[in-house]
């Protein structure tokens, strides 16, 4: 563990002090760096990096051909499309919906506001399987809301719409909790300035408030998206799991595993991680571009 110790300046026999080589760690008087970094790295390595490394290696045993064949298989491709497509739509829907709820919670004082505020986090706190069977019961053709929708000819549960509802449920708190603190801290003066300059209420919200919230909304949406893509528990009950139509990618992984197709399962897993990472990086770049303008 010699690396963890800052190297002292080397004094040459001539007496001149050689400039210290750039250290990888700044000197600190606080103790415990070696121990805490060691614990962190070992735990991280064993729990996260080793397993993910194995995940990344496993598909290669069926070769590039096999991976391509697995992923372009109509059923897998459809599942990936459904998963990412509906997740994207649900996350996008969460944008305005989350803004609406965050706005209501921060800007108005009404009885039950605090309870509503607390309930926003229910999708975090409610186990996904419970959410899954509850949403299914609610939105099934025989359920109270599902019957209502069926009357106007809309099938909610056991359809892509059902997946969408579950994913909106799962993603909502991410967006609300991203926007809320920013909206709370938004300088009232800025809005008042817009008013004194002649902006109408709509103009004030469109040109001043929403742009100021832009980075927060976007970050909430990307968090909701990342969560939705991987979501399993709340979706499989309501989805109906019909191949090509309402089968999500995580379920296909489970199916492949049950068939002992480890490489195929790993290939889908890697593809999911790769696509969601790509999407997240894209959103991060957009978000940074937005945030750069607003830094103080």
């Amino acid at each position: 563990m010699t690396d963890f110790v800052a190297s002292p300046p080397v004094i040459r026999p001539g007496g001149t002090v050689r400039p210290r080589p750039r250290r990888w760690k700044e000197h600190s008087i606080l103790p415990g760096f070696g121990l805490s970094l060691g614990v962190t790295l070992i735990y991280l390595g064993l729990i996260v990096l080793l397993p993910l490394g194995v995940l990344a290696m496993r598909p290669w045993e069926i070769g590039l051909d096999g991976i391509v064949r697995t992923l372009t298989d109509a059923r897998v491709a459809a599942a990936l499309k459904i998963t990412f497509g509906i997740s994207f739509l649900a996350a996008l829907t969460n944008g305005p919906l989350g803004l609406l709820i965050a706005w209501t919670l921060t800007r108005y004082e009404f009885p039950g506001r605090r309870i509503m505020d607390a309930l926003v986090d229910l999708p975090f706190a409610l186990p996904t399987a419970v959410a899954g069977i509850a949403l299914t019961t609610l939105y099934a053709p025989t359920g109270p809301l599902g019957a209502l929708a069926a009357k106007i000819g809309i099938k909610t549960a056991y359809s892509p719409l059902g997946i969408f509802i579950a994913l909106v449920f799962i993603g909502l708190p991410f967006v609300v909790r991203s926007i809320q603190p920013v909206l709370q801290d938004l300088d009232r003066g800025v809005e008042e300035a817009a008013q004194t300059l002649g902006a109408t209420d709509l103009q004030r919200i469109a040109y001043v408030v929403i742009p100021a919230l832009g980075p927060a909304i976007l970050s909430g949406i990307s968090l909701a998206f990342a969560r939705a893509v991987g979501e399993y528990g709340s979706v499989i009950f309501i989805a109906g799991n019909m191949p090509m139509k309402t089968e999500i990618a995580p379920l296909l992984i489970v199916i492949k595993l049950e068939q002992y197709d480890y490489a195929g399962a790993a290939a889908i897993g890697v593809a999911m991680v790769a696509i969601s990472f790509g999407a997240l990086i894209g959103m991060n770049i957009l978000q940074m571009a937005l945030a750069r303008r607003g830094r103080t």
Binding site: S28, P51, M116, P127, V130, Q180, G233, F237
Partner: protein, 289 residues
């Protein structure tokens, strides 16, 4: 909310400016909240009690249900403390020292959040499953990890890995390390400094992180479902038990088990909200509202 000091700052701007919109916004929010959050919660208890109290209680007393509760508690009791210790160590490393590669470390700690729970289960099967890397060795030595409790624990740990660290890092970053430095100059040892200065400063945030970590650990479904094998009474945690009963069309049984989990969720929410109100100053900034 505390009344703003400056006159005018707390004035409800929008009640005057947008008289027609406020009730509309409120109504829309309430409708969305009800349809998405309140109704599902209500349905759980309604379905659980659909046939009356006795069948509900009977479903809870069933041996498989009790076994599932015990297993769930055991898994959480192992994985939550481990993640708490890791969270403190990681937060200490990241917030009290400057070193290269810090942002990479931060990203890696967050990584499990962006991985599907199913993948978090899959990786353990790839390692320890029958056809996994250590599969043959484990079979030869008669060690069971997948389709057994160790697999459930590993999957749960991976899924709940970042929770505690995520709560501590922003808070400890805000707090800086001046107090620790002061304690050291006053002659405290490293351990004493941590125990008497750092820990009291972060205790509520730590509790908060543990609370969220525990809720997720007890409620986790996707990851454990992959490694469990769904053996009733043996490897079914409570969420898996819910699934099995639901797929057996045992609605009362499924929702009775679900009601315990929903209760856990509600308790978590209440405790979390209390922490946010009472100790908002000692939680990271994003938790203060």
């Amino acid at each position: 909310m505390i009344d703003a000091v400056a006159p005018g700052a707390s004035r409800p701007l929008f009640r005057i400016v947008l008289p027609g919109i406020a009730p509309l916004m409120l109504l829309a929010s309430a409708a969305a909240m009800a349809g998405l959050i309140l109704l599902p919660l209500g349905v759980v208890f309604q379905e659980a009690l659909a046939k009356g109290l006795m069948p509900y209680l009977a479903a809870l007393k069933e041996t498989d249900a009790i076994a599932a509760v015990k297993l769930t508690l055991l898994v959480a009791a192992i994985s939550v403390p481990l993640n708490a210790v890791f969270g403190v160590a990681a937060a200490w490393t990241i917030t009290k020292f400057e070193f290269r590669g810090k942002s990479v470390l931060l990203t890696l700690i967050d990584l499990p959040f962006s991985i599907s729970p199913v993948v978090s289960g899959l990786v353990w099967v790839l390692l320890f499953g029958a056809q996994g890397i250590f599969g043959t060795w484990l079979i030869d030595h008669d060690v069971k990890i997948i389709f057994a409790t160790p697999g459930l624990v590993l999957a749960t740990i991976l899924v709940t890995f970042p929770f505690v660290a995520r709560e501590l890092i922003p808070l400890m970053q805000e707090q800086g390390s001046d107090e620790e430095a002061a304690a050291l100059t006053l002659g405290a040892s490293g351990f004493t400094t941590f125990w008497r200065v750092t820990l009291p400063n972060i205790k509520w945030a730590l509790l908060y992180g543990v609370l969220l970590c525990n809720a997720r650990a007890m409620g986790e479904f996707g990851a454990v479902s992959v490694v469990s094998g769904h053996i009733r009474g043996l490897t079914n945690t409570l969420p898996l038990h819910v699934e099995v009963l639901y797929n057996d069309y045992d609605s009362v049984g499924a929702f009775a088990a679900a009601s315990i989990l929903a209760g856990l969720g509600i308790i978590t929410l209440v405790l979390k909200t209390v922490l946010e109100w009472r100790h908002s100053g000692e939680l990271s900034a994003s938790r203060k509202h």
